[in-house]
Symmetry: C2
Subunit: 248 residues, 2 copies
DNA sequence: CAGCGTCATTGATGCAGATCAAGCGCGTGA
DNA sequence: TCACGCGCTTGATCTGCATCAATGACGCTG
């Protein structure tokens, strides 16, 4: 059912995020080598479902290029995106049999994978990998909870601003640029995907995006390329604590 | 500012949930003993804030009796509860400096605590504790994401039913009773706390709770004691997959 | 370059839940 | 015993977003 292709990538490519985020900091080279041995790459087309909720998930990995999303769907078709996976984000649940939600390629996607069993074995042998994963999972938990505030209490306009702000921030850190001057990025999501993430309809998303443009909070080139002239202004619209300075 | 009292509890009381959930399964008695050494108890009154978002959090622990909640607040006062901590739930973030949200005692509360540093040391020495914590954190992440669906896509009535269903389920497993016949429990939350959890106003909560009562989905004794005559009916109202049987 | 599919915009209308405003029941303390 | 506060209910009204319905803009393919 599922069309996947293993593609060619240099073995020790600097891109592989697992290497950076999960093990690199404290790993002895011996362990790193073992990880390299069980590593492989997969690519997916936009729209493809990578894993269905409830299915056996036989690998863990992380996003190299593109965007994936975690979504939950009710019987009647209402869907809610519960996670947005950008490059360097980790996917999978060591110690779990099956996926708890659908994993969908939102754009064309390349993932760096490890078969689950060998990865778990390695975890058992290498305690600090479990600790690193715990930290990453705590980060995800924080993100999920921040998103609960967005979903539960923010207005449509604030929701849009929050989403743009998050993507802009992620993009800025990826580009290693100091956050100065206007920020630019391509929206990796359709209006519908944005709506699913924000608990809105696509019509409302469209209206509010254009309202933000009208009000000069953002500028749009085409439908997907966003320019943020003043990031603080955007944060303000998102209802975030802007809190420029620290206390005491 | 904070009024806390250390209370008397037998040292190796069977109640301590950390023992059950975090370590008991595979721990050698030696490690268990070390945990006992650094264990202590705290009690709080309903309404007390246990930790403020951003504060240093110098302990981890779990709920023994009562209910605590994790809440986030915007500058203008809008608040969203992002986690509900019932007895046996774990609080705290090993490896983290400060709390990411307010922790509030929603009812009178007893917690079993460990000072953070010794607990972390023990984690470092005892790999499977980190693995157990990872599992628990993944559970929390699943719960948070399920809640995102509730917040983003469910109607007020479905939200109420979802909350009741979760509490009923938790209560049932705590009482170790097979889930048969009518389920009964006390709501450990005010209408306002429910509203904060569900992203609603307290008026809407009140109306919908009474609507569920009118429709015979639940019965109320006083304002807090709930009787669920038919749990499947409640799940249906919550919009959950009821999916009585398994496939294949 | 016509025809189609996908993604996005825009307008008109309706409704679920917020907001505003009383009022009730019950425990508590003077 | 009364008054006060707190948690909750109930009603009237308002509004932000959903819903329904066209239409527009782009890219792809024949």
């Amino acid at each position: 059912m599922q069309k996947t292709v293993t593609i060619e990538v240099p073995r020790d490519c600097g891109e592989c995020p697992i290497r950076h985020r999960a093990v690199c900091a404290r790993c002895e080279s011996e362990e790193l080598t073992r990880l390299e041995e069980i590593k492989y790459y997969r690519s997916y087309e936009a729209g493809q479902t990578i894993v269905w909720s409830g299915d056996r998930m036989e690998f863990v990995g992380s996003v190299v290029r593109g965007v994936a999303s975690l979504t939950q769907t009710m019987e009647d078709g209402r869907t809610q995106m519960v996670g947005l996976l950008l490059p360097s984000d980790f996917v999978g649940r060591p110690g779990r049999e099956s996926a708890a939600y659908d994993v969908v390629a939102t754009s064309d996607l390349v993932m760096c994978c490890f078969r689950k069993k060998p990865f778990e074995d390695m975890m058992a042998r290498t305690p600090h990998i479990a600790q690193r994963l715990l930290e990453m999972t705590l980060d995800e938990l924080d993100a999920a909870r921040e998103w609960m505030l967005v979903l539960g209490r923010k207005t449509a306009r604030e929701k849009i601003a929050s989403l743009l702000s998050i993507i802009a921030r992620r993009d800025a850190t990826l580009n290693l640029a100091g956050v100065e001057g206007p920020l630019e990025f391509d929206l990796p999501l359709t209006r519908e995907a944005m709506a699913d993430y924000l608990g809105l309809t696509l019509e409302t998303v469209s209206r509010q995006v254009n309202a933000l443009k009208r009000d000069g909070v953002i500028d749009l080139i085409g439908k997907r390329h966003v320019i943020v002239p003043d990031f603080d202004r955007l944060s303000e619209e998102a209802g975030d604590d802007s809190d420029g300075g620290m206390l005491s």
